[in-house]
Subunit: 340 residues, 2 copies
């Protein structure tokens, strides 16, 4: 059924060395021989076996994909999947396939990613941050395997990283709200353990200060990026003596939760300015449509692929790249004076 190089060689009446050289584009093979062998390979649909090739060559043409963070995490993450999609488009052209490490088998010592990379002999790794980062990622980062981090500051000899300029996200939002006339701005962040969320929180505070606005600690909240937590934090804000009139939530889902909380507690949504972050599909269709910050996932994915490719092919080592975010203004942030 499955042909080997030996059989192809026999069929072509040459040695397997010759066949191998043709497969690997050596340039010292006679045109005639090459043509003959190529035809046979085509005819029988021959493809060298990966494991044999990888074992002999020490190259795999496979990129490991790791979603760093809590065990059993979801592929089903809008940012993750869009970045990955863009990444795949570029890296796929180079002939790399993608290997997803399953982390469903509970491992008390933490998943040893380095060992798995060696096990598969991957040429490089894409590591996307999600939640807390386990120590095993650090080990991989420090190894000789090229790694590209997304939203994750990799510092190893053979690593680089790329992320949205998180400072700018907060700056964009604060400046915009300030220009719209808002002075009472609350912040709903993600988990305190998330570096991304902390960068945004810090930049939010700096931006507020720069605009001469006061930061109220009781208006600085932490959620977990999901809707329910946005609902709960907003509910808390509504119970404060002073209620903020503008809210920046660092995820769209939390912003959507906040909108729901405002309505459920009998307030008029038109009296509040809500800004989310991510620009998920639902943000376009929500009621009201949600103002948000869009990350250039396409660019992040494409660049990550280029950078990783360069490291694998040894075209030097790229450094850290930050990608500019974009504010998408919809009606949730415009206070409408309908009944006044």
């Amino acid at each position: 059924m499955k042909l080997t190089i030996t059989e192809i060689a026999k069929l072509a009446g040459v040695s397997k060395s010759t066949v191998s050289k043709i497969i690997n584009n050596y340039d010292d093979i006679g045109a005639e021989t090459r043509g003959k062998v190529l035809k046979i390979m085509e005819e029988y649909g021959y493809r060298p076996t990966y494991s044999a090739q990888s074992l002999a060559k020490k190259v795999s043409n496979v990129i490991g994909v790791i979603y760093a963070g809590k065990i059993n995490s979801d592929l089903n993450h809008p940012f993750f999947i869009e970045v990955l999609n863009a990444f795949k488009k570029v890296i796929g052209v180079e002939g790399f396939d993608l290997l997803f490490f399953s982390n469903e088998r509970f491992n008390p010592n933490g998943e040893d990613y380095l060992a798995r990379c060696r096990h598969y002999n991957v040429d490089g790794c894409l590591i996307i941050a999600g939640g807390e980062i386990e120590p095993s990622i650090k080990k991989l980062d420090e190894s000789d395997i090229p790694c590209i981090g997304v939203d994750l500051e990799l510092t190893g000899e053979h690593s680089a990283y790329i992320m949205t300029d998180n400072e700018q996200i907060s700056t964009l939002v604060v400046d915009y709200l300030y220009l719209e006339g808002h002075r009472e701005v609350a912040f709903i962040g993600g988990l305190p353990s998330s570096p991304i969320s902390e960068m945004r929180a810090d930049a939010f505070e700096r931006g507020m200060t720069a605009c001469g606005l006061t930061i109220r600690q009781e208006w600085m909240k932490h959620g977990d990026f999901f809707e329910q937590s946005g609902y709960e934090r907003m509910t808390e804000l509504l119970e404060e003596k002073d209620i903020p009139k503008a809210i920046f939530a660092v995820s769209d889902l939390m912003a959507l939760g906040a909108i729901k909380a405002i309505r459920d507690h009998g307030y008029n949504i038109n009296d509040f300015a809500i800004v989310g972050c991510d620009d998920i599909l639902a943000a376009r269709y929500s009621d009201p449509p949600l103002t948000t910050v869009k990350q250039d996932k396409e660019k992040i994915g494409h660049m990550a692929a280029m950078m990783l490719k360069d490291m694998i092919k040894d075209h030097g080592k790229p450094g850290a790249v930050k990608v500019a975010p974009e504010l998408v203004i919809r009606s949730s942030s415009r206070i409408k004076k309908i009944n006044s």
Copy 2:
């Protein structure tokens, strides 16, 4: 840096055969020897190299994932990704990793999936349908590699498939609309080349007939599953002499497009009943929230994994499985008499 079995054997003072047997859980190794070797392996973080193991054993512990259909398709497909996620959760526990074949390199003869599966020696394949199916999938289906199709009727000796009961989708919707008092129902399908869409169209017609309703050919439309096509088809419907009052679109995006068209053309959305299909996240947040049909993606993914696992482990061959859909009623399908 990277240890081999030979070195582990040396360190433990045994032969590599013995180490190999311990790795593979042979039961004829002395407890003492086993313990000693295990400790060394643990200490050095040894993991056998995949390619060597796969080459010698002819087993890979890797599942190939194929999104059948047009070249360069997106990972970024809500149904696909949720099914895959559920699939991964179950198959991951068995220790399988997932390999995504990139299909970005243009191949005039069509991607030869079978050759790639052999190249990587995958233990089995998950094939998810999207758009037209290329002939290369058929070859894979007929091979000895276990395949599980999602939304794709695989018929090979070593294949099985699973999908939502598409007939039931239409039946649920038609019956519901009928009970709500609707008699003028239009249908916006997907691409005519999509078997899934055709199943729904056929069942829609049967359901209408069963309810004693007349099917008007000018109300049977085809879109391409995306928003814009829903907008366009709805616009056409609004230009008919008789305008249907209820619309079943076979994707949520098209339903959302239809809602936009209705508003843009100056009609009152409350006079129409719109039903989508998929239950994407945006359906919950849209204005009005969208009535839709939900596929049990979790169950489909989980079952696909179990079925594939059974075929790989040779626990018999499962057949074709259909999963029941569920109608999710929101306000887009309830005609509100506000101004009358």
